[in-house]
């Protein structure tokens, strides 16, 4: 039972990550491979605040969102001048920088040793300790984030985002301030991703930099693409599939040392297969082919 709850919690965390990245990549067409950075920023902010200041859970979530959102603006601003693949490289640079900070600023982040012993959170006196408690909190956060995302993409704001994705010049000619849309959606996506990081840190109660590497960013992109870019429900489906699929290996009796490597192979193979045969993913509306 605990195992099942654990899988559901992981799916919830990846739903938050994938939906938030979908706003940036799927709806706005900005290919970012820095999403694990924002995930990591959320986790480290929550862990450090909880360990050093013993500040409450909700305050830590808000701090994580604000800091991650600010960093999102910093990553989003280059998108005004550089496009497509070149922008993806700029976000890659940001990913490398955040990993280096987490890994090398030993006195603050614990470096490769990470931060152990993150205390169990509490919301207004309700102590979140069991798997069941965590699942409820994550479910609530997922619903809030899905609701906000749905509101965004179905509003006139979302219509402009899609226009920016499809034809920036046309959007400008129709009086849309393309720059502000790009930066704003980055801030929102980064802020949302940090929520997943906060939950991860509290749930596992130990974090280290290896959870927030470029491989993690690529996994999140795979979820978005395989589930379907430009469709929120696609990201939910994608998260479920990509979390559950490697777990299936356990039941095939594969030793865990091999299974860990198999996961990477499965993600890579799936991504290639989908790009070749179904670039819009399961239920997406946007393909990266132009």
């Amino acid at each position: 039972m605990e195992y099942l709850l654990h899988i559901l919690i992981l799916i919830g965390i990846y739903v938050i990550l994938a939906v938030s990245l979908n706003l940036i990549v799927g709806y706005s067409g900005l290919l970012s491979i820095a999403h694990a950075s924002f995930y990591g920023v959320g986790a480290y902010v929550a862990a450090l605040l909880a360990l050093k200041l013993h500040s409450p859970f909700l305050a830590n979530i808000i701090c994580a969102i604000i800091l991650s959102g600010l960093l999102g603006a910093i990553v989003g601003i280059p998108s005004l001048r550089i496009r497509d693949d070149y922008f993806a490289i700029a976000t890659f640079a940001f990913q490398v920088i955040t990993f280096s900070v987490m890994n090398n600023w030993v006195s603050f982040t614990g470096g490769p040793m990470g931060l152990p012993g993150i205390p169990r959170p509490a919301i207004f006196g309700w102590k979140i300790t069991t798997h069941y408690d965590f699942l409820i909190v994550i479910l609530v956060l997922c619903i809030i984030i899905l609701w906000i995302s749905h509101k965004i993409v179905t509003s006139p704001f979302g219509r402009v985002l899609k226009a920016v994705r499809e034809d920036e010049i046309f959007a400008q000619a129709m009086g849309k301030n393309v720059a502000s849309y790009k930066v704003l959606i980055f801030v929102i996506g980064a802020g949302m991703a940090s929520v997943a990081g906060v939950m991860y840190a509290y749930y596992i109660s130990f974090i280290d930099p290896t959870s927030f590497t470029i491989m993690e960013s690529i996994l999140i992109i795979s979820i978005v693409i395989i589930g379907g870019a430009g469709n929120i429900w696609g990201s939910v489906l994608g998260a479920a599939v990509l979390v559950i699929l490697p777990e299936a290996l356990r039941f095939l009796g594969m030793p865990s040392s091999i299974a860990a490597n198999m996961r990477q192979i499965i993600y890579g193979a799936l991504l290639v297969i989908f790009m070749l045969f179904r670039p819009q993913g399961f239920i997406g509306e946007y393909t990266f082919r132009k």
């Binding site: 509101k151 006139p156 226009a163 400008q172 000619a173 129709m174 009086g175 849309k176």
Partner: protein
């Protein structure tokens, strides 16, 4: 009457080639001005500098008393200048209706604050815009296409939609880059009919077009451009018979 648009000695160079050479032009209110000239004469460059898609090297562009020369494109669009593009630009993977809805200005729902705090206001405006969009499509005789994806429409219909988007934006000055090039005669007829009706409604047009017949029929005034300069200007008949024009272009 005060001109709607006043272009004062504008210069634009691209690595050595002169695209606009001390170019000046006044566009009167509620008129239809045609711009003709050979390829590379600087016609599209003129549109690009007016709408801020290209910075100008020197000169001034005044629209309704506002200097546009250093404004970003989206602000120029908001000031009331809409344009179409030679290589048609529309959001092809959205419906016709969504393209029109996108083009309206001052939408409350384009600010997230309103979407979350005043959803009622956003919905009400969206409903109104939807009505306006349908009226506009009906006015242009393409209301049955509202739900179709733009990519499924013919080239001529797409040109019609891009004109509809300009009208939806509420702009008073419309710059049309080859509105009837490459489409069938009955569609040309429809588009010209729409354009002809609009000066009465307070719209001003500048049209780049190679189809001389269309220009002659619809324009009050024609400018002939070559090598970034204005060679001839006047009513359609006199420009058509101007010896310089005949030599450079029509023959």
């Amino acid at each position: 009457m005060k001109p709607a648009l006043n272009i004062k000695s504008v210069n634009k160079k691209f690595d050595g080639t002169v695209a606009l050479d001390d170019f000046s032009l006044e566009i009167p209110q509620n008129s239809i001005t045609g711009i003709i000239g050979p390829n590379g004469a600087g016609k599209t460059t003129l549109f690009n500098v007016i709408t801020g898609f290209l910075p100008l090297d020197s000169g001034k562009i005044i629209y309704n008393g506002k200097n546009l020369s250093r404004m970003p494109s989206y602000k120029i669009a908001r000031a009331g200048i809409a344009r179409t593009f030679q290589q048609l630009r529309l959001i092809t993977r959205m419906t016709v209706l969504d393209n029109i809805l996108l083009s309206f200005q001052n939408q409350a729902g384009e600010y997230l604050k309103n979407t979350f705090l005043f959803p009622g206001r956003v919905k009400k405006q969206e409903r109104k815009n939807r009505e306006k969009a349908n009226e506009l499509l009906a006015f242009m005789g393409i209301e049955e296409k509202a739900g179709d994806l733009v990519e499924d429409l013919s080239y001529g219909q797409q040109k019609m939609i891009s004109l509809a988007c300009c009208l939806a934006s509420g702009a008073d000055l419309l710059l049309l880059d080859e509105p009837v090039a490459g489409i069938n005669p009955s569609m040309i007829e429809k588009i010209l009919m729409v354009i002809k009706k609009l000066p009465e409604a307070g719209k001003t047009f500048v049209i780049i077009e190679h189809n001389i017949e269309a220009v002659m029929r619809v324009c009050d005034r024609v400018i002939f451009m070559d090598e970034g300069k204005k060679i001839a200007e006047g009513d359609p008949e006199s420009v058509r018979h101007d010896p310089a024009v005949i030599e450079a272009y029509l023959e």
